[in-house]
């Protein structure tokens, strides 16, 4: 297993080109092309702004402008959920490669996660100017937590992506199940409502069990409302993520030989 992990390093050139290809091919043929990477989050931001300032205004103290607050959680969530949705089908979609080319299969889910990470980082180019405009971004040592959160989310997402990719080969139903689970998970995470609301606090235990709570809250604290009080949870999640990644890789490695036959 660890041999395979080091082998992965040798394939970093391939991972890099595949991520670039994914990003290029995604909008190829559309008029706006790569601009969609920016247009998509802007449109999303406008929709949320409209809904939460005009249709059902939310005036909770400390999270204004509300659309921007939600955006701090939605961007990482989109990275997370698209990564999982894409990796779950990645081995089946790349079946041709697995069956015909000598090729470490884990590259496929990893590429899905990384391509979505690049999209996430590009989305920040929309979010950050917004934060600066509304004077919400406090330049301080707190910002150093941001790369930590990104790395932890990367490890966590990759671990989960490997498990889902490997199991989906054998249980195709996971793909359909997953979209519903992700929907539920989204609403069960403090993304479109703030973490410190009274009715959320009542269920704090439940929220603490949800790993993405800690990522979302950390991003909100880092980018939006100041002191990073959640760092202990974040680091604990980091440790758990490494465990999840190793477990995921182990499972993937165990099932590896069955892919070429079952895909």
């Amino acid at each position: 297993m660890f041999d395979n992990l080091t082998r992965l390093l040798r394939y970093r050139g391939l991972i890099q080109s595949l991520v670039a290809r994914d990003l290029k091919a995604r909008y190829r043929g559309s008029v706006l092309g790569f601009l969609w990477t920016f247009v998509n989050p802007v449109l999303l931001l406008l929709v949320y702004s409209f809904v939460f300032t005009t249709v059902m205004p939310n005036n909770v103290e400390g999270v204004q402008p509300y659309a921007l607050f939600m955006f701090c959680g939605i961007l990482p969530w989109n990275w997370f959920s698209s990564s999982l949705a894409e990796s779950a089908g990645s081995l089946i979609a790349g079946g041709n490669l697995i069956k015909k080319v000598l090729f470490p299969a884990e590259i496929l889910p990893i590429v899905s996660v990384l391509a979505n990470m690049v999209n996430f980082l590009l989305g920040l180019l929309i979010l950050v100017p917004g934060l600066i405009y509304f004077h919400r971004l406090h330049v301080s040592a707190n910002l150093l937590w941001f790369p930590v959160a990104v790395v932890i989310q990367l490890v966590f997402t990759t671990g989960l992506a490997l498990i889902l990719a490997a199991l989906t080969v054998h249980f195709r139903d996971i793909r359909d199940l997953l979209s519903n689970v992700l929907m539920l998970w989204f609403f069960a995470t403090p993304i479109i409502y703030p973490w410190f609301q009274e009715n959320v606090k009542k269920f704090r235990v439940l929220f603490n069990v949800n790993p993405f709570t800690h990522l979302a809250v950390s991003y909100q604290e880092i980018l939006f409302y100041g002191p990073v009080g959640h760092w202990k949870w974040l680091l604990a999640l980091g440790a758990g993520s490494v465990g999840l990644f190793l477990a995921g890789y182990w499972l993937f490695d165990r099932l590896r030989d069955s892919f070429a036959e079952a895909v």
Partner: protein, 448 residues
């Protein structure tokens, strides 16, 4: 020196993860038995105890019927799948031409795909950059290299895939039936490239149905049948043994086809239901009538019945496959329910298009019938079957001189003529070529 490729007692059992998992995700999760449930329900042995060795620098051909495990063997050598038992060892960098252009992305340009495909096959960006021009020229795609691959024709797609794979510069090249990727010119270029590989002492493992290629190109051949190694060694001998086996199979197939045709035609159908009344001679033995429309059948009064028709080869053995130029005997067994002096034996030979190759009968050949009683035999002996390769059908009949049929078997008997030459037409006259001394030929035909 270690051989380039070595397979020792390799078995590969494909597992079928049967249809049950569809309903068992829930139960698998509940019982925490995902890994256990992934154990196969059905198995299928693709290779059984196969061993072969390919010395460095040699070209090795693997032949066999469809489904005999050739491609599985290649995938094992490529490392794409793992053997269930036994060991596979390969020395040096492998490039597998198993599926050309696997992993091309349709939306991006040929140029970008060359780079990604090259990296997948183990080249570095720098190496691809150096070889890029060569690859594009080889694929003959200079004008289209910046167009998205989805706009390519399948030939262009394959050529590009082939060009990338062949420029990986491997020590061991695995080729799975991919030479049919281009027009004649491109095929020659590929063969030239293989010859160049051979000269630079690289190892080639070739899986193909083109026996011709194996004979001309390979140093050694290996014949797989139903996942077992049957024979390996000199390509000509292996191909010969394989062809013999193929003929046996064809022979069995033709035997069953014929038996079925006879049985069906002899079954009393609705037309015969009128109390076995003899039908009128609707189809007199006229070899010039349009046979492409004709269907199999049997009719006649059966006063003289053809009870058995067999084709005999040189050794008087029943056979359905003959080589062009072989002797063949068509033997009819007949039974006359009462003695008769009015009878004609006839035969007609048709090719697959329904063209009459030859037809004759005893009356046309001016034999005057005198008597036929009880069980009798009539043989039509051809000393040399001078027909080109193909499948042929046979009419046999016994009828009265005026054409009234006793027993007429139309196209019920099928046999195949094989030939090592691919000459065309129907009839191959006995022939030879003669030249003046200033026309010369090389001793062996070798187009590469």
């Amino acid at each position: 020196m270690k051989p380039a490729i070595e397979l020792v007692n390799v078995s590969k059992i494909y597992r079928r993860y049967g249809g049950r998992q569809f309903s068992t995700l829930k139960s698998a999760l509940l019982q925490r038995s995902i890994l256990r449930d992934l154990h196969p329900s059905e198995t299928f042995p693709a290779l059984t105890d196969v061993s072969f060795t390919v010395p460095r620098g040699s070209t090795y051909g693997v032949i066999g019927r469809n489904g005999s495990g050739k491609s599985t063997a290649l995938k094992l050598v490529a490392g794409i799948t793992k053997p269930t038992a036994g060991t596979v060892s390969v020395q040096g960098r492998i490039s597998a031409l198993i599926e050309l252009g696997a992993g091309f992305h349709p939306e991006i340009s040929g140029r970008e795909n060359v780079f990604i495909n090259g990296i997948m096959l183990g080249l570095t960006k720098h190496e691809i950059h150096d070889r890029f021009e060569e690859i594009v020229d080889f694929a003959e795609l200079r004008e289209f290299i910046d167009a998205p691959v989805k706009t390519y024709s399948s030939g262009m797609y394959m050529r590009l895939g082939f060009a990338v794979a062949i420029h990986v510069n491997p020590d061991v090249l695995l080729v799975d039936e991919v030479l049919a990727v281009g027009d004649e010119g491109f095929t020659h270029k590929c063969l030239d490239k293989f010859a160049e590989f051979k000269r630079s002492n690289k190892t080639i493992l070739l899986v193909t149905h083109s026996l011709n290629l194996v004979e001309r190109f390979c140093d050694e051949a290996f014949w797989l049948d139903a996942g077992r190694g049957m024979k390996h060694g000199d390509p000509k001998r292996v191909v010969g043994a394989y062809l013999t086996k193929v003929e046996e199979g064809e022979e069995r197939l033709l035997a069953t086809t014929t038996a079925k045709a006879v049985e069906e035609a002899s079954r009393p159908g609705p037309a015969d239901a009128s109390g076995g009344q003899p039908q009128p001679a609707e189809q007199p033995l006229d070899p010039t009538s349009d046979m492409s429309q004709a269907t199999e059948g049997r009719w006649g009064s059966r006063e003289v019945e053809i009870t058995d028709v067999t084709l005999l080869d040189r050794e008087s053995q029943v056979s359905f496959v003959f080589h062009s130029g072989d002797p063949i005997t068509i033997r009819l067994k007949v039974r006359a329910t009462q003695p008769t002096a009015d009878f004609v034996f006839g035969i007609g030979l048709f090719n697959a298009d329904g063209v009459c190759c030859y037809g004759t009968n005893t009356y046309l050949e001016e034999m005057n019938p005198a008597g036929l009683t009880g069980d009798a035999e009539a043989s039509f002996v051809i000393d040399s079957l001078d027909l080109v390769e193909g499948t042929y059908k046979l009419d046999v009949a016994v009828h009265k001189i005026d054409g009234f049929p006793y027993d007429y078997h139309r196209l019920l008997y099928t046999f195949r003529v094989k030939s090592r030459l691919h000459d065309v037409g129907i009839y191959r006259p006995r022939h030879r070529w003669a030249f003046s001394p200033n026309v010369t030929f090389k001793p062996d035909m070798d187009r590469s």
